[in-house]
Point group: D2
Chain length 397, copies 4
């Protein structure tokens, strides 16, 4: 009834720390049993830090260890494909950090490899699992805000902590690949996974840092329903990490703030050198810490979904196919930024079809109603159109 | 020392009400002396409502009245040009509501007419005069956030209150013309008036209402400095009026919320039928009123600037030329939305030239520095590049 | 129709600056015509700063000047009484800054002096005039939150800017006299001016500064209706100026934040040395400026009410009698803090009587209803009492 | 390494649901193995709802079951003592919901019973375990806000969901016992557990509901350091559940909002009948849901601490002794409310002693410094006292 998992953690960077903190956190029953690092020092330090039994410099050894059933790929982007192949070949469940690949083609190959092997695959897109996001998506699917019209997802901060992120060859791009992948999948969750991303318009530029990759980008993704997803990413934001989502629907609005304004506000004259939050810039003045980062950032719910799905034979909420779709959208972003025009999203679509946002005309008193307002005296004012004639204001009693 | 002005108010709609409430508000020394309306009933009601001496159905009579020195054009968009011409011909100061024209060409003609007549012209763009915006722009110009990289201006609400707004012939467009004009000029204020809007990318669609005009649009304006202005407009937002601006700079961030979250929060079981705020949707549940709307929306500071400038012989902060630039950007938006690609902003530019956002390379320890972080133990970690070789992480003491 | 006033400003400190900034601000038609200071240098500097015609070191000269009709008393507390007497003797309107006196007895004498002279008197309690407060009080009086149960008013900051405030002989006390006077009158506005403050419980202590006066106090004021007013004052708050009010009613809730969270948020790496806001502690990190301080802090609406009332022969919203009531409550605070128990508020009450908060019993299905909840399935759950028997849960359909 | 616990859950009300939701949530390794209810129907329903093996109507059977090692007492207050006695007698770990007892005397007996039996005891005060509270307390203890001067803890909502809460005999009181117990222990966490609560001043009244118990109370708790804890509780708050804490220190400020403003804001035209949050009043208009309630309310971290402490042989953060202290403070509240004066907190103190808040005098230029300000021109202004003479303002360069 309470099955537990033994995990091989591939990688020892910031994300591997967050994953392990989550897996070993609270009263969790799963454990990292072996850690792989390219350098023995980092592997040993990680082993010590998290109380893990073994470390190794061989992926093969890590993934074929008979004691482990699940492989978490927490490596730099250019190392994902070979790691996934090794884990799939070993018949293990494969959970891959974001982004899945450096391109849709690379992602598609990983997807195929895992599907051919018949093993469980999961896409570790934590920000789709934050408790706020999950509840907001559930409310949206239950109709609380009507048809979704527009989704904004923003992730900006002062830039990543390791050199490889800034190298577009190893990473596959810049801020789009690092941050946009989160935004795209958050947008898809609100739009509905069956709502096809049809085309993309993107602007990207390198405004601040001495690098080749983009440190800023904004993009629109047009979905089959007609709704627009909008993402904003930057590696030069000042003030911490800005993680916000906004959803506008025909019947409502959702605003999520995951980091800088979560109901925790602190002023300090400072100097204590405490850790405040990921990417916080200061330890004095007004600060906005986050309570439990691994919970608020979705790591906890993410692994719960992965292992529960594994045990019940279901698909997780975030599959490797989702990772592939995200890569396809990002590929379109780069093509659009270069072409300076809308470009189609090229992908093998499995999601079915979604109708256009409904626009049912309502007529009253001989008018097609455009807008209706309630006046303070109880009467109603309508703006409408009389058989395609001029628009009129009319007071109805 | 305390000169006062006598004003002819052309128009009796919502905006004329807001203008007169401001002009007659607090201990103000200026007065509306005559009001013009196309229909005598509306003119008389307005005269009664605001304690004005006279009403008329003749623009000519209103603008040539020897007792008045200033004409405020608060008419539907398609009536601006003839009203401006009449006021300029009468030698009166002319203050025109937003947008200036239905197109850059119409705006340019108005600008020329006023300049040829040698009378004072002002562009009544209230949202550039909100106390928050003024202080934020002043901080930006003083360098508090460094070079501006990106500005977002958002105005969305459930749609305007009069029929003519919804008629693209009379209005000159839809939500872009009604709301985008505010956003564009707010963005210009943060970018710097001398920073040329070079090109525009826009998406527009009619998602909800049975009209021809767009009820949704998002657009990017690329400025000469390389910075991006982004605006979002909608006539189908639920929850009130969403008026927010965000500015990201190399050294800081500004977030302004003008309406729904201003430090005034009220829950009521409701039913009292009170006025809460412009475009509020309900009088029960959690509500977010605004203290003094004419102050918070900038009307007070706007007229102060107009009359003070008139008296001192200076240009106001918002000139008719600014109105013309906004129209030129909006024209480009419509062309871009149709062409589905970036299009240049076509305008007679008077603003000089602005250099590219600075990107000074800094080297240390043989590395061109990409990012620098302070570790808890007091050491510094830098990510840098060694003579265009691979990127490296390095700890400096 | 647009009568203007010529004012004698007594005092040249921070509050005189704020008053004059307001009176000379926007398109205001009133003017300070003469300024009095005890020291000629300060008077001259003030005259220069604000473009005032004359300065004097004689109160007599200032208040008897035939060109002025209104005297504003903006002096340290111990100088109020003689200044009020001089102005009243000269037959001028008298507007007095807060607190009115150092004690109820002193305040009562000033009140009597002004009433005997038959001149207009006004109490310059700006925080009862902030646009937010005015709208919130109006909503409360219109019934939007039902019967008021509890009001919290909090004013805390790092301490005043002049030495006399810290001297309890000149000021009449410490943080209670400096800040509590605001809170008490804000509370009275929400409670209803006719709702008698019956008794007071207060704690006060000197926790941080090397002074005799209290630098911290919290107090409860019990009103005739049964409702409780609660104020919190401190001269040792870190993070700026905390100005918040909360009102709980039987049908609703109001939360006001006047300063540190008003929809204006700025992060700066700093160093520009700009003025941010009154009592701001820093010019870097996250900061929360206020748009137009003289408007947001109520100065603008306050003088509008004073002069409009003067012209129309009405009483202003804040009278000298209100100032006297505040002093009476503060006297009770000091007595309570010393006695460590509830003490009655001793005052000449002019306000009539207010009934106890209503508690109408409602019965249904044989139960006196204590609480009612709507279940998700549409049924209702009530908690009630059956003829004073045990309490029961019951589901009603 | 990953020991798991089998739990007997005594009680099937809202709190038992929250506890079991937590214990069975995420990838937790502990399980409720048996549930006790006084009525078989409720026990069976609970068993079904949470997938528990067995239910029983015998406490004895539940606590002596050899398969269980831990008893969670989630019963109405008047049933705590006998349940604790039974569990202790059976040699099981005992975790008791809040408040521990209906009086300090009852709490003391429970504490003694558990200590005599030598079993592990824990006090299930979830709100001291919210991730925000834990991080804020850790920052406070690390010195980020200096010496604590004042703590406000507020919990108000429209009233509890079961009849027994409203019955002061069964509950031991009203809103103080239901809500104040949370606030008192939150305050103690910020003050420091070794900082003795010396005396209490309390006001309590029944303003709204037809009950004998208080539905409103506010209280101050004076601690040995001189700092003041302030709590506010109400069973008649409108707008949801208001859970906020504020801490003022000599070097900083902390504001926590646990419920109504946590970065999740939703507007809906409504009618979907969804669960929004505990005590939410509506499913339309602006709503403020909470992401993961069991995490945000502290249940997750609370059980982690309990079981981790049990396994490591350490004391949990919240012990039964803490529960006893809370009861002692609440007893003092009731005595103070009746006596209308400060009353001492009577308790067996185990916490040691805490010095008075430090007030180190600093002298400069012959002045004892009271306040110091930095002027825009770089000079410093000080307010100080010259050998106990008059206070002076002085500009220092």
């Amino acid at each position: 009834m309470t099955q537990s998992h033994q995990i091989a953690m591939l990688g020892t960077g910031l994300i591997a720390d967050f994953y392990t903190m989550t897996l070993h956190g609270q009263r969790n029953r799963d454990r990292v049993a072996i850690v792989y690092s390219r350098t023995p020092e980092r592997g040993d330090a990680f082993k010590q830090r998290w109380g893990i039994a073994r470390s190794t410099t061989s992926i093969e050894e890590a993934v074929t260890d008979p004691g482990i059933d699940t492989v978490v790929v927490a490596l730099p982007n250019h190392l994902h494909e070979s790691a996934v192949a090794a884990a799939a070949a070993a018949g293990k469940s494969v959970l891959v950090t974001k982004p899945l690949g450096r391109s849709a083609e690379e992602a598609r190959r990983m997807l195929q490899c895992v599907e051919d092997a018949g093993v469980f695959g999961g896409y570790l897109e934590d920000l789709c699992y934050t408790p706020k996001t999950k509840k907001a998506v559930a409310s949206t699917r239950a109709g609380a805000i009507g048809d979704v019209l527009w989704v904004r997802s923003r992730e900006t901060h002062p830039g990543p902590h390791s050199a490889w992120f800034w190298d577009s060859t190893e990473a596959g791009g810049g801020a789009i690949v690092d941050l946009g992948c989160h935004c795209i999948e958050i947008i898809r969750n609100f739009m509905g996974k069956g709502n096809r991303p049809v085309e993309v318009m993107c602007w990207a530029d390198t405004l601040v840092h001495p690098i080749e990759a983009e440190d800023h980008a904004v993009a629109w993704v047009r979905f089959e329903s007609g709704a627009i997803g909008q993402f904003e990413v930057s590696w030069a934001f000042r003030g911490g990490m800005d993680l916000r989502d906004e959803v506008a629907g025909t019947e409502g609005t959702i605003w999520l703030n995951h980091f800088l304004r979560t109901g925790f506000e602190m002023f300090s004259t400072g100097g204590t050198g405490q850790y405040i939050a990921e990417k916080a810039e200061t330890d004095r003045g007004w600060m906005f810490p986050v309570g439990d980062e691994v919970s608020e950032l979705g790591y906890t719910d993410m692994f719960t979904d992965m292992f529960d799905s594994m045990e019940s034979g279901a698909e997780p909420s975030e599959t490797l196919y989702d990772g592939y779709v995200v890569n396809a959208v990002m590929d379109a972003c780069y093509r659009s930024a270069a072409a300076r025009t809308w470009v189609p999203v090229e992908l093998e679509w499995r999601g079915g079809s979604t109708p256009r946002i409904s626009r049912t005309e309502r007529a009253e008193d001989g008018l097609v109603i455009i807008k209706e307002e309630h006046l303070p005296d109880g009467r109603r004012k309508v703006i409408g159109r009389d058989s395609r004639g001029p628009l009129v204001d009319r007071i109805l009693t």
